[in-house]
Amino acid sequence: MIANLGSKIGQIAQRLFGSPPSPDEEQIERYPKQIRVLHWVTAATWVMLFITGLFLFVPQFGGGAVGGWSGLLHRIAAVVVVGWAIAYFMMKPKAAMEGILDAFKWGKEDLGWLMAAPYYYFFGQEEKMPPQGHMNTGQKIWWLTVLGAGALMVVTGALMWFFKGMISADAFLWASTFHSIGMAILLPFTILHVYLSVVHPKMRGIFWSMWGGMVSAKYAKSHHKKWYDEVKEG
């Protein structure tokens, strides 16, 4: 019965997110466990922060903020995600630092990627795509956005929460304005991120790399050639 239910959920998940790499294929580890846990904690808290924040952002949803409970949930989610990120940094300072710095390593191939991307994502033309490292250019842009807008959210949020009354009224209002700007940046990018990991025909199934951590060697070779070569060379 339970096994039945499990396979049913598995079927639904594959309908939604595409098929995971087949067990017969050669596979490579792409995301270690701590990264995946951090990713899903961030994803869950971001959804929570988004919904509870929306109550203050959209007057029609304002009813959800009455009594301040959405504000409390917003604060709890913020503490969980910031706390988790700090804990990860403490546990794996080297990997975390490398991961952050990866976003800032830009080269000639990134320009090539940007030029070729429209042809690739609309028409599947792979020929012009330069070989990519562990993160491709698009992922670097997303990662920079998360780091930058995330920092903006943490700083402006902390100003409004802990420094209320200490900072000037104008400073408070600008903090809330920039908190809104951060959200206006993160929302479209998040939609894009989910689309590319779940919906786009070229990426279909890649969702599972953030679930089980593995990608097929075939995928690694075609999407992240430089990284694939590095892994193979050891």
Partner: protein, 287 residues
């Protein structure tokens, strides 16, 4: 490649729906261009105020707020979440009743995310505390420093309190509790147009002894619904010469929100188009 009409409609209506979620900058919370002469208002005449604190006590009593003892005029109480009217004094001899000024162009209404603060048809800034989220934006935005919150700073669960213009009394055709209590005609309740006239008459009467005497609130922020007869410069009584709605208060809801929704809607529409094109052109790697 084939674009199915139904798919196209789905994508575009989804994007349009997301954009329409944005409420066109808050329907029903737009300020009017200027206060109306038939609005209900109050006049506060500092030259007549004797500092008896009856307005303070009447406000506390009528609204069921604690601490009704007569305060020390040398150290008048500040406005708080449960003190909606008080007196400010430059010298413990002259007094100005200090409470919500019920602006026509009110920063607090502009920033209130839940509609707890709103414009009443009679012109004043009404407040429904049962809708308050405790966010505190109003307290930061008000150029007069009127709204105050009480609650927990860590959890953020708190509630704002301010003068409600005795909404139930005024809606029933009565005057406000403070104006009724005033024994010396220093607070007067009535139609804004008539009070304006009386304000300038009273200013003219005291102008000889007080060269700085002037009306305050006739023009500020589209016209206040508390009009002052001042015998001195506004700053003497803690009133800003040129109160303004802070820019950040308007940028947030009038600029950032529509841009944010437009960006999200554009991305959704763009991705929808991408999907329709890519689905027909690309054979999936993993399927």
């Amino acid at each position: 490649m084939e674009l199915k009409r139904r798919d196209f409609l789905k994508v575009s209506s989804g994007a349009a729906g997301l954009f329409l979620l944005h409420p066109l900058s808050g329907l029903g919370k737009r300020p009017r261009a200027a206060a109306d002469s038939s609005d209900m208002a109050m006049m506060v005449d500092v030259s007549k105020c004797v500092g008896c604190w009856w307005c303070y006590a009447a406000c506390k009593q009528y609204n069921g707020l604690p601490n009704t003892v007569k305060p020390d005029p040398k150290q008048p109480p500040e406005l708080t979440q449960d003190t909606w009217t008080t007196l400010v004094t430059p010298d413990a001899e002259r007094f100005r009743k200090h409470a919500c000024n019920h602006c026509t162009d009110a920063a607090c209404v502009e920033v209130c995310p839940t509609g707890a603060l709103y414009y009443h048809d009679l012109g004043f800034v009404a407040y429904d505390s049962s809708k308050c989220s405790g966010c505190g934006y109003c307290a930061e935005a008000c150029p007069f420093g009127v709204p105050h919150l009480a609650g927990n700073k860590v959890t953020g669960i708190s509630v704002m309190g301010k003068c409600t213009f005795c909404i139930d009394r005024v809606a029933a055709g009565q005057q406000t509790a403070c104006s009724e209590a005033c024994p010396n005609d220093a607070i007067k309740f009535g139609k804004r147009g008539e009070l304006l006239q009386e304000c300038s008459d009273r200013v003219n009467n005291i102008k000889a002894d007080h060269p700085n005497a002037a009306v305050y609130g006739d023009k500020q922020l589209g016209g206040l619904h508390v009009l002052y007869v001042l015998d001195d410069k506004p700053s003497v009584y803690g009133l800003p010469e040129n109160p303004e709605v802070p820019i950040a208060a308007t940028v947030w809801q009038d600029v950032i929100q529509p841009i944010g929704w437009a960006a999200a809607a554009l991305v959704v529409a763009g991705l929808g188009m991408n999907y329709l094109v890519a689905r027909s052109r690309i054979k999936g790697d993993h399927e």
